[in-house]
Amino acid sequence: MLRYVLRRFLLMIPTLFGISIIAFIIIQLPPGDYLTTVIAQLSAAGDLVEEDVIAGLKAQYGLDRPMHVQYLKWISNILLRGDFGTSFEWDVAVGDLIWSRLGLTVTLSVATLLFTWAVAFPVGIYAAVRQYSWGDYFFTGIGFVGLAIPNFLLALVLMYVAFKYFNQSVGGLFSPDFVEAPWTWARVQDMLGHLWVPMIILGTAGTAGLIRIMRANLLDELRKPYVKTARAKGLSELRLLLKYPVRVALNPFVSTIGLTLPILISGSAIVSVVLSLPTSGPLLLRALIAQDMYLAGSFILMLGVITVLGTLLSDLLLAWLDPRIRFDD
């Protein structure tokens, strides 16, 4: 087990490196560099840009150096000092902007993941055990519909219905009183009251996918001889179902976290824009449109890192659940 954990941690390093490269490329992609933007902004504001300020900034970000040095400078600033650079648009350190938004992104994604599981697991079992029943067709149908509606459209439709028929605005994660409030129990409760809307929107497609996975896995497992062995022992159907095939089918199910999490984080970006949630999505979009590249790059970097960490956790969970993986080294 220890060896597996260790190997898994080592495997993570090149992935993280790759993500940082991509984020860096995205920062570099727009024409002109950071400094050009700053100078343009300063001049636009009518300020005189002094040569030594420019030189100072150049040195700070290593802009006069070759690309790989710039990358090293950027990444070591992040790793060693937690300095993600400065947002031009907001004129504050990127670090100050992203953490609370990333935190809420993680909260939303994890909540959605749990919701997805809570629904998909029992429904998947039901659909497999009662294959081709009315309920199975019903859930399969819902599943297809869930897969075919883009998240943002679902969000729009829900908002429309809430606005039109209940005269309510379902956007945001907090009531107006709590938007700027410090974290208190009341604020958490307020957030939970708002969380379910994006959770359902974001979770529908994933739930549909997971139901199909759970159903298919369980159908495979139900045909395995060990189920018959368990039945021949005299176990009751429910008990043997839960102890054997469901337990075995749980493993591939757990391993889907690795696939689901990127999709959730990815999807939350766009749903958050529609619902104007205070998560990463809207700010990332704004940063991209304003070409506030350090902010955008940092978001992309950190969203990638969160995904990788989530995948790591799911792999470790899987190893803990499945002795075959634990022993296979």
Binding site: P225, Y226, A230, A232, K243
Partner: protein, 347 residues
């Protein structure tokens, strides 16, 4: 129907009568078992032999109603005689019970144990050996964790597993195929059932392991005094293990009798052909082994008349295509489904 033999009725464990198992599929109904009769006695081994697809496994699995969907028993009786410690006998028709009923579950694993073909896949890959064994003990004997563990380890030792206490906590993928089959046998016998059904228990194993498992079964039978129903396609195994033999062809019992009679005076043309197709050390080297002409027919298209007719060398023109022969008694409990024995039975 088999005539009562010298065997005492007290030793009777299982009577299967006119069993029919059908699989309704989109393409048509497969009559996997089409009217099968046989008996199993305490302390005796019944071997069911036949080619693949002849319905021998389905017959065996239908006793505990373990046939895969959509297969189901459509007709017939499976009377299980339960002998209690006080000498009383209760007879239950297993075919009449619902497959998930409490009554049937109380018999599964407790009074009838079952061993399957594939030890690799018949055990759960993610539970320990001990977990899977103790489960049966706790379920049927109501023992606590501790006692179940002791009994389980004892049983593992009994079936010849080295370092039983250690292997009790092992996962099944850490064991060899032969070891796994021993675990399966331990699991099936740990509640000392009166009847053991072994469905091709050695097909997936290599030859040496096969022999070991077979002698283990013989040993255990001597110890526990249980009846054994052994499904196999291997006539060698039959010769070694069987007291009584059922030869199946296309879901019917072609021939039934005790092992000596079947080997020395086979009656059914199919039995004869089967026996001709096994290698024999006494034969001359250059004699070719016979194979049976033709193929087992498509399950959706059973031949009219005698099911073996199209492949039979002794066809009676005009009759075998038309009549599916009933079972004719051969005396001493033996029977055969072949028109050639009509007169024998009459006389």
């Amino acid at each position: 129907m088999p005539v009562e033999r010298q065997l005492s009725a007290e030793d009777l464990l299982l009577e299967v009568r006119d069993l029919h198992v059908h699989f309704p599929l989109d393409e048509g109904t497969v009559k996997a078992v089409a009217g099968v009769d046989f008996d199993v006695y305490r302390n005796r081994t019944l071997c069911v032999v036949g080619e693949s697809g002849c319905g021998k496994s389905v017959s065996a699995q239908s006793i505990l109603q373990l046939v895969d969907r959509p297969g189901r028993i459509v007709q017939g009786q499976i009377r299980f005689h339960r002998h209690d410690a006080d000498g009383s006998v209760t007879v239950t028709d297993l075919a009449a019970l619902r497959s998930s009923s409490r009554a049937l579950r109380a018999i599964r694993g407790r009074h009838i144990g079952m061993v399957f073909q594939e030890p690799n896949t018949s055990l759960s890959p993610i539970h320990t050996v001990g977990n899977q064994i103790s489960e049966v003990i706790r379920l049927h004997l109501g023992e606590d964790e501790e006692a179940a563990r002791r009994r389980g380890i004892e049983m593992l030792e009994r079936v010849g597993i080295a370092r039983p206490a250690q292997n009790y906590d092992a996962y099944t993928f850490e064991l060899s195929g032969g070891m796994r089959q021993r675990v399966m046998i331990a699991m099936a016998l740990v509640c000392s059932p009166a009847l053991l059904i072994a469905d091709e228990p050695t097909t997936a194993l290599d030859v040496t392991t096969q022999a070991q498992i077979m002698s283990l079964l013989q040993e255990l039978q001597a110890d526990f005094g249980m009846g054994v129903m052994l499904i196999t396609h291997d006539l060698g195994v039959v010769a070694e293990m069987a007291d009584d033999v059922v030869v199946m062809y296309l879901g019917q019992v072609a021939e039934y009798g005790d092992v000596d009679r079947i080997f020395h005076a086979p009656a059914h043309p199919y039995t004869k052909a089967l026996l001709r197709s096994i290698p024999n050390l006494d034969f001359d080297q250059d004699i070719r082994l016979d194979s049976i002409r033709g193929m087992v027919p498509d399950p959706f298209h059973r031949p009219a008349g005698c099911p073996f007719g199209p492949r039979c060398d002794e066809v009676i023109e005009g009759r075998c295509e038309a009549e599916n022969p009933p079972a004719f008694s051969l005396g001493e409990g033996g029977s055969v489904r072949c028109l050639h024995y009509e007169e024998v039975a009459l006389s």
